[in-house]
């Protein structure tokens, strides 16, 4: 079962550094566009703190997931669910996990479409944007993990370079008064605010289950995974700080997409730096796309493994109509908010509830196997 890969004949192994690239790409989704508004509502002036400390939750979940995968170094998560808890419960767990991933993808894509429509293309019907994105995603996913990885590595430096440049230009417009007073209400709002950040950070703890058997050498997985989460956390905190500095907590609460609003606000007179939101949105398309193809690939891979298929290529095309349908289920912005909250809780529960349970179960089983 080792080295099983879709669609290519030779065994693909990836290195921990390549896992870093996949993890970072899958964490950056479109949720960052709307997240500061929730954080500002809960934590006001301290809105950057929950973003920073929320990463700790993911660290824990990731560590648990790695340790769990380490008990089954040759199989993917689909198989070890079955191995751990039996066929039927394992199957149910797998189905739940795949469903969760699909809803996450649906929310990402929906938010992405709304953002593109609002800030780039006003009148284009959203179906066009979706068809384009999903169609290109099918093309990208078909050939297996290796081209996907190459694409992400190839795009990594220019994409994030441009992204960071635009983000850092925001520093020029911040107003230091917006950061005070710190910790006025105490630590409780910060802790409360950590919950909605889970959705922005979700990614590596689910994907490691799929990728663990393919990573070679296994030594650096934990190190590179933690590194990827920290890098993402840095960038997120930077964005939150800048948004807070530009808009201030009350404004952020009241804007639906505060990140774009903040970057619209930047203006340095007598230079050409005005209205950075357009450029930001363009780069965001690339970032969202790389995130999307990661998730879609692993959904197809998971289903393929569940059905014990030799190659998951047909699944890729089959799941797209499902995703497309999911996209249009929520009728308005309020429904999206509710669904996002639900998904947030569900994946939080998965990462910090079910996975540690499984880890405990695996540890017990391993202990029992060893002679006393």
């Amino acid at each position: 079962m080792m080295g099983w890969d879709l669609m290519t004949n030779h065994n693909t192994t990836i290195s921990p550094m390549q896992f870093f690239v996949i993890a970072v790409n899958s964490m950056f989704g479109s949720s960052l566009l709307t997240l500061p508004s929730d954080l500002a509502r809960i934590a006001k002036e301290d809105m950057w703190m929950p973003m920073l400390f929320g990463s700790i939750l993911i660290f824990v979940a990731f560590w648990v997931a790695v340790k769990l995968s380490a008990y089954f170094p040759d199989v993917t998560v689909i198989d070890y669910h079955v191995l751990l808890v039996g066929r039927i419960p394992g199957f149910i767990l797998n189905v739940l996990m795949i469903l969760l991933m699909m809803v996450i993808v649906g929310i990402f894509e929906r938010n992405f479409t709304i953002a593109v429509k609002t800030y780039l293309l006003d009148l284009t019907p959203p179906q066009v944007i979706n068809i384009f994105t999903l169609g290109l995603a099918i093309y990208a996913i078909q050939y297996g993990l290796a081209p996907l990885l190459r694409l992400q590595q190839f795009l990594f430096a220019p994409e994030y370079g441009a992204f960071l440049t635009i983000i850092l230009l925001g520093v020029l417009s911040i107003d230091a008064n917006n950061y005070q007073p710190m910790l006025a209400e105490g630590i409780t709002p910060v802790l409360q605010g950590m919950i909605p950040t889970w959705f922005t950070y979700t990614g590596p703890e689910i994907l490691i289950g799929f990728l663990f058997p393919f990573i070679n050498p296994k030594k650096g997985v934990l190190k590179w995974g933690i590194f990827s989460i920290s890098v993402t956390a840095c960038i997120y905190v930077m964005i939150t700080l800048i948004v807070q500095g530009i808009l201030g907590p009350t404004e952020t609460t009241n804007t639906i997409v505060p990140t774009m609003m903040a970057y619209r606000y930047i203006e340095i007179p007598d230079t050409f730096i005005e209205r950075l939101d357009g450029y930001l949105m363009t780069i965001w398309i690339v970032i969202s796309f790389t995130s999307l193809i990661n998730w879609l690939y692993f959904i197809a891979f998971g289903i393929g493994q569940m059905l014990k298929l030799e190659s998951s290529r047909p699944i890729v095309v089959l799941i797209i109509p499902f995703i497309y349908y999911l996209l249009y289920v929520p009728p308005n912005a309020y429904a999206i908010q509710i669904i996002t909250q639900w998904v947030n809780f569900a994946s939080l529960f998965w990462g910090l509830g079910i996975t540690p349970l499984l880890l405990a179960l695996a540890w017990l089983k391993a202990k029992r196997k060893m002679p006393c």
Binding site: I14, S15, P16, M17, Q18, V116, L120, L121, T124, V128, I129, F132, T133, L136, Y139, A140, Y143, A146, P147, L148, L149, R150, L151, Q153, F154, L155, T271, F272, I273, E274, R275, G278, Y279, M281, T282, I285, V286, F289
Partner: protein, 548 residues
Amino acid sequence: MKKNNSSNLNCPDDNTIAKLRELKSSIAHARQVESDMEAITRSLKERSMDPGIYQLTDSLDTNVAHLEEIFADSNDIHIRELFIMPLKRKAVIVFVESMTDQAIINGHIMQKLSMPPTTVLSNPIPQPTYEYLKNTLLTAASVTAAYEMDAATKRVLSGDTALFVDGLSTVLIIATRKVDSRAVSDPQVESDITGPRDGFTEELRVNITLVRRRIKNPNLVVKRVTIGQRSETDVGIIYFRGIVNMKLVQEVEQRLKDLNIDDPNVSGMKGLLTDHPFSPFPTILTTERPDKFTAALLMGKVGIIVDGTPYCLIIPAMFSDFFQANDDYSENWLIGTLTRISRYINAFLGLSFPALYVAIISFHPAFLPTPLALLIGTTREGLPFPTFIETLIMVIILEIMQEAGIRLPKNVGSAVSIVGGLVIGDAAVRAGLVSPPIVIVTSFTAIASFTIVHHNMGLPLRLLRFMLMILGASFGMFGVTMGLLAIAVHLATLESFGEPYLATLAPRNFAALRDVKATAIILPPNTMDKRPAYLETEDSLRQNNDKE
């Protein structure tokens, strides 16, 4: 027939005219029948001749009869009889008069066979005929044997002389090839500032010479194969034994063997050897420069030289190879890095600048700062075409001019630049057909795409430019971004002879970042001591680092 009574012989009446006309058409028809018959008889007579059906015999007369049948209608292939004095036997030499060195034939074959020097005559050493001829009588440097008529005729057609001796069923082939070819000159298409100035020519031997004089190592292997069903072209596969991965060599040889074409020059071997014939991106590098060729060989790649073309193929070729020029290494490494990175940026701009222009102007003027937007708006006031059509026209004109510049004879070439620049650009603006910014955009795009080192990479850019423009005109920046992503996805899935196209830009781990060092950017010379990882070469150190 005797209808008219008043038949005047001087004045032809209608009947006669009709009959004359009939006669004329019959004559024309007969002529046509005659030429048709001639064509049919000739095609029956001059059928495709496969020399392999003839066997070599001892009897000279039979052989000569067969030869005359094989070379029936060509007047430049001579079959000359002579008498070998020491052996007292008749012989025949066959050669193509335009491809052979007459001096060798006269001096070393004819003279030595008909009038051998007295030393030979006075010391007859009993040997088998073939060895006697080869070792003692003939004083030419290269003498080989052919056992089949097929092989013998091929050698004759390559410029060698075939010697048929009565009573000997082996044919002696003496190397006398002397073909007029172009002198070694500057490479036409690729130019470097500080690189060597010799370029490959059409003659296979000269090309191999240019390679061997740079690498004087017996491990440099040159394998000759013949490709092409009808043209029987010599092709050389060159690789460095001990460095190259033998799997690659096997793959190349296999593919060459599987080639089923008439003539490799014309049919385009590149298209047939490549992994992805439908992709616009080249996966095989063609070069005219021997220094590039040898550098690639030393890196562990395989080269193919085809007789008759000055362009040689390097396999496998990665995306970043098309942006490399040897100049980068001759300057300071910082400058080299900057130049190389700027090439990538130029390629990107050359590809997407018109599309970005169309997208921004038509869909998102918000991307531009206000004064610039108003300025462009002012220049576009009153123009008859929307931006997309305008850009399309300019880019099509650009393509036409580029193509015309290649095809025009040299003395008319300067007219193209005058016509293109002044008339089309300036006059069109002044007439109010196009706006000034689009002229700037187009010329910038053209210049940016010329900085790409290899011409074959410029071609997919030209094609994809159109696709991106159409996407940009339909969906704005979203469309352009999606188009660029689609191109990136396509590049990520391409493979060149088993190696991924983007291998150099997608390193496997930190240690493999040295690939990026060597190909995408340049670092100080003493850090580049390893060969690229993706080629999986057998010997990864570039030079022997024992400096004790």
